[in-house]
């Protein structure tokens, strides 16, 4: 393969979000800094008899209001709709033209790519379960396939079914923006969009693209998704108090709160951003990825993979742990994650571990699964912009074994130049991205 012609610095020139705390970046950030919760009882479907009856949903959102040509995306899924809105916002902030055959923003579309961590589309419950009911033979305890097939062929809507595939969110953004460069979509569970941003940075560094539309879009808030997480007993069951259910690092944490949404960051080579005179929000300086190779069901007990990914990202950035001002944690509010993540941070930061603020905004936002990392990276961009560390809410009864500085209850004003964002996925993928305040002289990375 070709020799890289560049060791391009990669900067962020746009952000966009559609999430349980609001459908734009400003509302999202105001929510985070005021400690607001985006969590409430499930309305997407009737979950009243499920073990968990609440979640973190996107509210009052219609992608048709966010773009000029919604008719081109009419059949798109719930999460692709989120992705369209977030991408439109991010492009607008970055000064990139959308929905035009003749963009006038100076970016060659074959050098504009997309990298999303994205999940399945909307689920046609009636047709799916209807097909099963039609074919299930309770006497024989087996499926009569032709009966199921007949029902499904009559009731499923083909264009909607096509939108089930996880590559479709990227396809919609491609049509929105005209992007013809590297277009990828990945799904490494809860680590997906952090990985997407990391790999998108690598594509720009390699010289394959000038602009990457990177981030995530996901909604698992449908009966089968919620069924799956309930069965795993991964969700909080605090049905009497949804707003305090997500309590990362707390002694009484009992599971995560599932959310949904989309978050998009515009990554751009510094050369391109300077040439266009784009406003630079932050620099992406490091990325590390690893896998636990441990168990299907559990994280490695000592956080081996998490530690390796953090160290790889720090090395990639040419930084040391001394340089990191804030760790935006994965912090899901499960017993396992929060304990092991704490261990891993201690292993990486050593004596300094307790001095580095490490908070989880999932306490307010819920867990956006594939889109979580990108949403939290936008919080990291804003933390750098405003010199403030967002809080971990609902941390009222500390776990004695978890003794880092989780920034409980209120945001903390302090200089924030470098943020480490970590995400760990079911199945053992660990991804870490490091953002830095942009300055002319640049990073120390040598490669």
């Amino acid at each position: 393969m070709k020799t890289p012609t560049t060791t391009e610095r990669v900067v962020i020139t746009g952000t966009g979000i559609v999430c349980p705390l609001g459908n734009d970046v400003k509302t999202f950030w105001e929510g985070i800094l005021s400690g607001r919760s985006g969590i409430d009882f499930t309305t997407v479907f009737d979950a009243s008899t499920f073990p968990t009856t609440f979640d973190a949903e996107v509210k009052d959102y219609d992608f048709r209001q966010c773009i000029r040509q919604p008719q081109l995306h009419e059949k798109c899924s719930r999460s692709s709709g989120f992705a369209l809105g977030a991408a439109a916002q991010a492009c607008k902030q970055a000064g990139l033209d959308v929905e035009t055959a003749h963009p006038n923003d100076g970016i060659d579309r074959t050098r504009m790519g997309i990298y999303l961590g994205a999940g399945e589309g909307s689920f046609d419950n009636d047709a799916f379960f209807g097909s099963l009911v039609a074919g299930w033979d309770a006497q024989q305890q087996q499926l009569n396939w032709p009966r199921s097939i007949r029902f499904a062929m009559e009731h499923m809507k083909p264009a909607k079914e096509l939108e089930q595939e996880p590559n479709m969110a990227a396809a919609h953004i491609s049509l929105l923006t005209g992007a013809r460069g590297p277009v990828r979509s990945c799904l490494t569970a809860c680590a997906a969009s952090t990985q997407a941003v990391g790999e998108a940075m690598m594509l720009i560094r390699r010289g394959d693209a000038d602009v990457m539309i990177a981030g995530g879009a996901h909604s698992m808030i449908h009966p089968l998704g919620i069924t799956g997480f309930n069965l795993l007993t991964a969700l909080s069951r605090r049905n009497d108090s949804p707003q305090t259910a997500s309590r990362p690092f707390s002694g009484s944490r009992d599971g995560f709160v599932i959310g949904e949404g989309a978050a998009i960051l515009i990554l751009e080579s510094l050369t391109s951003a300077r040439r266009r005179g784009a406003r630079i929000l932050a620099e992406v300086v490091g990325y590390g990825s690893s896998s636990d190779a441990f168990r299907v069901t559990d994280m490695h007990e000592e956080g081996r993979g998490a530690i390796q990914a953090m160290r790889a990202a720090i090395a990639d950035a040419g930084l040391t742990t001394q340089d990191i001002d804030y760790v935006n944690t994965h912090g899901t509010s499960t017993q396992e994650n929060d304990s092991i993540e704490t261990l891993a941070i201690k292993a990486v930061f050593g004596d300094r571990a307790k001095q580095v603020p490490a908070s989880s905004i999932k306490s307010m936002l819920g867990h956006l699964i594939g889109a979580a990392g990108a949403a939290e990276l936008i919080a990291a961009v804003l933390a750098i912009r405003d010199d403030v560390v967002p809080p971990t809410m609902n941390l009222h009864d500390p776990d004695p074994k978890l003794d880092l500085d989780y920034v409980p209850d209120v945001p903390r004003k302090m200089p924030v130049r470098v943020v480490m964002k970590e995400s760990f996925g079911f199945g053992g993928q660990n991804n870490v991205v490091i953002l830095k305040q942009y300055s002319e002289e640049g990073s120390k990375r040598v490669s």
Partner: protein
């Protein structure tokens, strides 16, 4: 500064033509067809009752003893990937934990894994008992499902169907602790995964990577949408072996199948330092996107394919005249075949007529994400054997598909092969492979 060259040192394939690379290659080179009436379930009611199914196997025979319990957590897609990975690792000569935990020759932190996966549809029979207790007056009742249905499903059910679980299981078996990613770009996934893994090695993120994809499209819910969209062939149920006819004047649609293809990628330095058998070099990756509001088809002029091919050639630093073989995506959906042919013709110009084009889906069926990886393996074998087998089910080209598709076996040196893929959402990808002849010179 030079980029490390990335080579292929191991191959593993599970396809409708066999459970190994050798069986698959034997089938391909004999022009055998792996398509038949679907056996996994009774497909009566589908306009297309055909499929490309993998021959029977026992998954327990393909995992280490210590891992046999975990096969309960494997859906079909995971199983296929695990079997292909076992063969790929074995053929590379690397000793991982999965080969022999006592004699491991690799640093687990320096191996990565990047696999393509489809959106895995669940096994419907598994949900049957839960649905059985969740009806009221013959209609599905979500209240009862939440209250009573859930207890009829195994607790770890979700973990069987997450796309990243292919890489997770293989990672545990072989102790792969380096970068791990799962690309979910439908049929383009395998080429994108191989490309990304090669780039990770090139940038020093790993010395070795398993890359490829697996998908089982023989699932009722998957087939519903392919049938409804008229993507699958109609009216050929009585002639399975001639049903799928890429680029042929009688092409009338695709046949869905299942399979897995995994390659072992390695930096050239690492491969040479251990005297590995080098099968081919990954020389270039290109990708782009088709812009068509009618998402289920490529844009008619094939621009997305053209750009991906041009970028792959540029990445390899070669021109169209350097190619001797193309394995196209070629589904046998007429308008997509035509668009792909146009894209190839525009990218390759006057060289188009000279380069042999060998479609494989007439034999292998459309194996979703896996297809691109199986094609890469077929191309490597063709280069190694210096043979291009005849195209099956191709008699006369469809109008506008002016490609050089051989109907007779061709022998001779194949310097480079190009593999292409695209998705119904629009992603396009191309991979350039170079025959490795030991010279090392470029």
């Amino acid at each position: 500064m030079t980029t490390p060259r990335v080579v292929i040192t191991g191959l593993g394939a599970v396809t409708p033509l066999g459970l190994t690379v050798e069986e698959t290659w034997a089938g391909l080179s004999a022009g055998r067809c792996g398509i038949a009436r679907i056996k996994a379930f009774d497909p009566t009611g589908f306009p297309c009752e055909l499929g490309g199914e993998v021959p029977p196997y026992r998954i327990q025979d393909h995992v280490p003893k210590s891992f046999r319990k975990a096969v309960k957590l494997m859906c079909r897609d995971i199983e296929l990937a695990v079997v292909a990975a076992k063969e790929a690792v074995a053929s590379s000569g690397l000793v991982t934990k999965g080969v022999d935990p006592e004699k491991v020759t690799v640093d687990p932190t320096r191996i990565g894994i990047t696999l393509g996966s489809g959106m895995i549809s669940c096994d419907l029979t598994e949900l049957g008992p839960a649905v059985g207790v969740s009806t009221t007056d013959g209609q599905f009742d979500l209240h009862k499902w939440g209250k009573d249905g859930l207890s009829h499903i195994t607790p770890l059910w979700l973990l069987k169907y997450l796309p990243n679980m292919l890489a997770c299981h293989i990672g545990i078996i072989h102790d792969i602790q380096g970068p791990s990613n799962t690309i979910t770009c439908a049929e383009a996934s395998a080429h994108l995964a191989i490309g990304e893994a090669a780039q990770i090695i090139a940038r020093g993120g790993a010395d070795i990577a398993l890359a490829g994809a697996a998908e089982a499209k023989i699932n009722m819910m998957v087939l519903v949408r392919q049938n409804q969209l008229y993507r699958t062939v109609r009216g050929r149920n009585d002639a399975p072996e001639t049903a799928c006819r890429p680029f042929d004047v009688d092409a009338a649609g695709m046949v869905c199948g299942e399979g897995a293809g995994i390659v072992v990628l390695e930096s050239l330095d690492h491969a040479q330092s251990r005297n590995a058998r080098i099968l081919a070099e990954v020389e270039g990756i290109g990708q782009s996107h088709s812009l068509n509001p009618a998402y289920e088809h490529l844009e008619p002029d094939g621009t997305g394919i053209r750009i991906a091919v041009e970028k792959a050639l540029a990445d390899a630093g070669i021109g169209p005249e350097d190619l001797d073989l193309i394995i196209p995506h070629g589904t046998a959906i007429p308008q997509d075949d035509l668009a792909e042919a146009r894209g190839l013709q525009d990218a390759l110009g006057s060289a188009t007529g000279r380069i042999s084009v060998w479609p494989t889906k007439s034999m292998l069926s459309a194996t979703g994400a896996a297809a691109g990886a199986i094609d890469v393996i077929a191309a490597v074998r063709a280069m190694n054997e210096r043979v291009i087998p005849p195209a099956r089910n191709f008699t006369k080209p469809a109008a506008g598909c002016d490609l050089n598709i051989p109907t007779e076996r061709r022998e001779g040196r194949i310097r480079r092969a190009l593999c292409c893929s695209y998705t119904h959402g629009g992603q396009t990808a191309a991979v350039v492979l170079r025959a490795f002849e030991g010279d090392g010179a470029k």
